[in-house]
């Protein structure tokens, strides 16, 4: 790069991508450096996909304010960015008088935070809304919704890229020195010179902070395991349902969350771990999830599960304290000049992602003059997909482009055109899971049994990625050990 960058964002998770998108409104040269080979390398790809209402968070906290704001904006934002979402509402279910007291205090807290549409629901109303969910009464939150976290992250990133932000992958920050009033950043094999740095490094935000001169913060990784149920059960859970949460562990409780595709997520659990990227599932926790899931959902069985996975929360509170601390979004010009740090962005980070980004811009604007670009385009659109259409429209779509008639993933009705779209545009897929999360192939019942070989062939044909180098996901995750015959 010839001229220095104005801003380098460390991390292309949902926060980094939201910051990138909001920064792309201004006349700034912005780049994002991501450690992983593609998007979806961290917490943003391993969560429940809930658009929270904001009644869980302490009144007066950044978490509460930015969550409520994010929830309010989500319909418009997802419409602009062409991301499917649904305001399903949510139930926090109780069984006894102690639970009822908790629910009432949650209701009160929600009202103080300005959360709309909260009410206490009795047994009859609960039964009518969600007949399969066990419980005596519930707190109903009308504004809670669900979104696909992959589509949301990708949409923010694409819109940022479309508006001029550069993304560098396989580029972890390993060193940062002040040089002539700039930050000289070693990111992977590149050296970037940048006036500002935004630390959106999630699970590594404490380490990146230290590299940038800010010490004293520690991320306590806290793993949450999930399992995903077959979409055949989708009619049993029309909206997220949680048992009354436990504040001491700081988790939201073991809950059931539907996805837009009709799968049901059980989880997350809560367990402090040593390594920030220890995404292993464990036998005792999976067993516990099944047991706890049955509290709400008595008919649940292990054979209903199609996949198990884990995410890790970047918490600022350790196991002896429990609970959670507020988001840290700060500038420390004394030790870390021209850096904005975002540390400990756990739930409700996804919901609050754009308000968090706007808070970053507010802090930036304290000392920088920010000039809006006239040509900023807030609209990002995805091409049409066969599976969203009825038969007549499908016929027209295929006539227009036969690639829409070639079905690659049978379980989710993903076509060659959908795959081609995920392999093109400003942020095409670079890995097999990167492709999976963009187009939805391999996420259905057969988990890639039918489509995997086709996707690999299409990555080679359409994206020029030779199979021998193709990664499943993270660095070092090659799919193949070479060819069978050298032809």
């Amino acid at each position: 790069m010839d001229r220095p960058l104005d801003i380098t964002i460390i991390g292309a998770g949902v926060i980094g991508c939201a910051v990138a998108r909001e920064l792309s409104r201004y006349h700034l040269r912005v780049a994002v450096a991501e450690a992983h080979p593609d998007l979806f390398g961290g917490t943003s790809a391993r969560n429940s996909g809930v658009i929270h209402a904001g009644f869980h968070n302490a009144p007066g906290s950044l978490m509460a304010r930015l969550c409520v704001e994010g929830n309010r904006l989500f319909s418009d934002l997802t419409a602009h960015l062409d991301v499917p979402m649904r305001r399903t509402g949510k139930l926090v279910v109780g069984f006894d008088e102690e639970d009822r007291a908790h629910l009432l205090s949650m209701l009160e807290r929600g009202r103080r935070n300005g959360v709309p549409g909260l009410k206490l629901m009795g047994r009859d109303e609960l039964r009518k809304l969600a007949p399969a969910v066990a419980g005596e009464f519930a707190l109903y939150s009308a504004s809670t919704g669900i979104v696909d976290p992959f589509q949301w992250t990708w949409a923010l990133a694409e819109n940022a890229a479309q508006n001029g932000v550069r993304f560098l992958f396989s580029s972890p920050l390993t060193a940062a020195v002040r040089q002539d009033g700039l930050w000289a950043l070693t990111v992977g094999s590149h050296t970037l010179y940048s006036r500002w740095v935004i630390n959106c490094a999630g699970l590594f935000s404490d380490k990146v902070a230290a590299l940038l001169g800010l010490t004293g913060y520690e991320i306590y990784p806290c793993r949450g395991e999930y399992f995903l149920l077959d979409e055949r059960l989708s009619s049993l859970l029309p909206l997220p349902a949680y048992p009354v949460p436990n504040y001491r562990t700081g988790g939201l409780g073991i809950h059931l969350t539907p996805t837009l595709e009709g799968n049901i997520l059980i989880g997350p659990s809560t367990e402090y771990i040593d390594g920030p990227t220890d995404w292993r599932t464990t036998a005792p926790t999976q067993d516990m999830l099944l047991r706890e899931g049955r509290r709400i959902f008595p008919s649940l069985s292990r054979s209903d599960c199609i996949r198990a996975f884990a995410g890790v929360r970047p918490k600022l509170t350790g196991p002896d304290r429990g609970g959670y601390d507020d988001f840290v979004i700060c500038r420390r010009e004394d030790v870390s000049p021209r850096v904005i740090h975002l540390i400990g962005i756990e739930s409700p980070g996804l919901t609050a992602s754009v308000p968090i980004a706007r808070e970053v811009i507010r802090l930036l604007g304290l000392t920088e003059s920010l000039v809006e670009r006239a040509d900023f385009d807030p609209i990002r659109q995805r091409p049409m997909s066969l599976r969203h259409l009825g038969p007549a429209a499908q016929a027209r779509l295929i006539a227009d482009n036969p690639d829409h008639g070639e079905i690659v993933c049978r379980c989710r009705t993903i076509t060659r055109a959908d795959v081609a779209a995920a392999l093109s545009g400003p942020l095409p897929a670079r890995t097999l899971t990167g492709l999976k999360y963009r187009c939805g192939a391999m996420m259905g019942r057969c988990q890639g049994g039918y489509c995997q070989t086709r996707l690999v062939a299409l990555m080679e044909e359409l994206a020029g990625i030779p199979r021998e180098q193709l990664l499943y996901g993270p660095a070092g995750s090659r799919l193949f050990a070479g060819k069978v015959r050298d032809v």
Binding site: A395, Y472, P474, G476, S477, A481, V484
Partner: protein, 416 residues
């Protein structure tokens, strides 16, 4: 959009069941039929099964999968039977409207009869109590087979195989021939799931150890698989943690079960049998939705392609009858004892039938008997019975309307 195309018979799937049914229908004068196949070439799973053993009973030859398929594909082409490849059926209704999508467009058919011949899929890793991260290097056996035999991609070098079903055994040999080191095959049951012939020719020949009553409980490695933990299991198939051993490897092949592919059947409201995973059928292989029939792996998972062809040909005869007039009602229920599922699940009066089932465990001199109202309809003694070999028991036409039970027993487990 155009009006649906009227067809006498629409066949969903151009694998061994679909092709055999189409040929048999054609031979019996049914010409207004179409086969819809999603792959670019017909033949189904046979295309990737380059091992031999196909056609032993039917052609008295040991053919490979593609050769066996060609025995049906050639006449299908020669007879000009309508076959659309690259065509995926996306919808099926209980009125037998079939919606299919291909590069050429969207087509709807109004069928008088539909034959479900979609085969089966593999049970995936997610369904197993196997913990750890999700590294690269975990493949179901069929996917590994497609990569190695069709795509020219080698899946790994140090291989552990979970499951001793025929596909797992075949892949143990295949991968060994391609220079990989197969460290062992682990089987949760106390006996091999596949045929003895395959245990000999795929494992013993290559000195690949078979560990019965074992399973894989954990995967190690974050990016690419580095090792698996294997455990012995008790007689409830629960892992015994004190027996855990870590096996370094870079690939895990899963051969842990086949599931009939019945998404389209569900769409049409076809009732499924929770034991087979396939449709509940009567002795005419008609499902609970009139005019929708099923044969092959979509109905119940078979061991031998020859059996699939025979079943599909039998089904074709019933469809010919159905096109001429409704088939007799089948109110007589069939159950099994000492065996897994029994197909068909419903019988009629006055027509002979064949009951298919799998013995529950390997046994010598197993007596298999069909009984109705205390009367024995048919009894056979099977010199060597194994769950890996489906048994076909013929029964005479029934006068009585009481339920029929299939019992399997031997000296250790006498009939009650």
């Amino acid at each position: 959009m155009n009006e649906p195309i009227m067809k006498d018979v629409v066949i969903l799937g151009g694998g061994p069941a679909g092709l055999a049914a189409a040929l048999a229908l054609h031979e019996q004068g049914v010409r207004d039929l179409v086969i819809l196949e999603r792959e670019p070439e017909a033949g189904g799973i046979l295309r990737q099964c380059i091992h031999d053993g196909f056609g032993l009973t039917r052609f008295h030859e040991a053919l490979t999968g593609p050769e066996y398929a060609k025995r049906f594909l050639d006449p299908v082409r020669a007879e000009g039977i309508e076959l659309h490849t690259g065509t995926t059926v996306t919808g099926l209704t209980d009125q037998r409207v079939v919606t299919a999508v291909s590069r050429r467009g969207l087509t709807q058919y109004q069928a008088r009869a539909v034959i479900l011949a979609m085969g089966c899929r593999e049970r995936a890793a997610g369904a197993l109590p196997m913990y750890g991260a999700r590294p690269a290097g975990v493949f179901t056996a069929g996917v590994a087979q497609a990569y190695v035999n069709l795509c020219n991609n080698m899946v790994g070098r140090e291989i552990v195989i979970l499951g001793s079903g025929d596909i797992g055994l075949i892949m143990a040999r295949r991968l060994t021939l391609e220079g990989a080191h197969v460290l062992g095959v682990y089987e949760i049951l106390p006996h091999p799931s596949g045929l003895p012939r395959n245990v000999t020719q795929c494992l013993d020949d290559f000195h690949i150890p078979l560990h019965l009553s074992h399973t894989v409980t954990e995967l190690h490695g974050a990016a690419r698989l580095e090792a698996v933990t294997v455990c012995a299991v008790d007689d409830q198939r629960c892992p015994l943690p004190e027996t855990a051993r870590r096996i370094p490897c870079d690939t895990l092949i899963l051969s842990v079960g086949l599931i009939p592919e019945n998404e389209l059947s569900r769409m049409a409201g076809v009732q499924l049998d929770s034991q087979t995973g396939g449709p509940v059928v009567d002795q005419f292989l008609q499902t609970t939705v009139p005019g929708i029939f099923a044969a092959g792996n979509v109905l119940h998972v078979h061991d031998v392609a020859d059996d699939v062809s025979a079943e599909a040909e039998f089904l074709a005869e019933q469809v010919v009858r159905y096109l001429a007039g409704p088939l007799p009602p089948c109110p007589i229920a069939v159950t099994g004892r000492g065996c897994g599922h029994v197909v068909p699940q419903q019988l009629c009066r006055g027509e002979a039938a064949v009951l298919s089932f799998r013995p529950a465990a390997p046994r010598r001199h197993l007596v298999v008997e069909a009984v109705q109202d205390g009367q024995t309809l048919c009894r056979r003694t099977i010199p060597y019975a194994t769950p890996a070999q489906m048994v076909h028991l013929p029964i005479p036409d029934l006068a009585d309307g009481s339920p029929v039970e299939v019992c399997c027993y031997d000296d250790e487990n006498p009939a009650v």
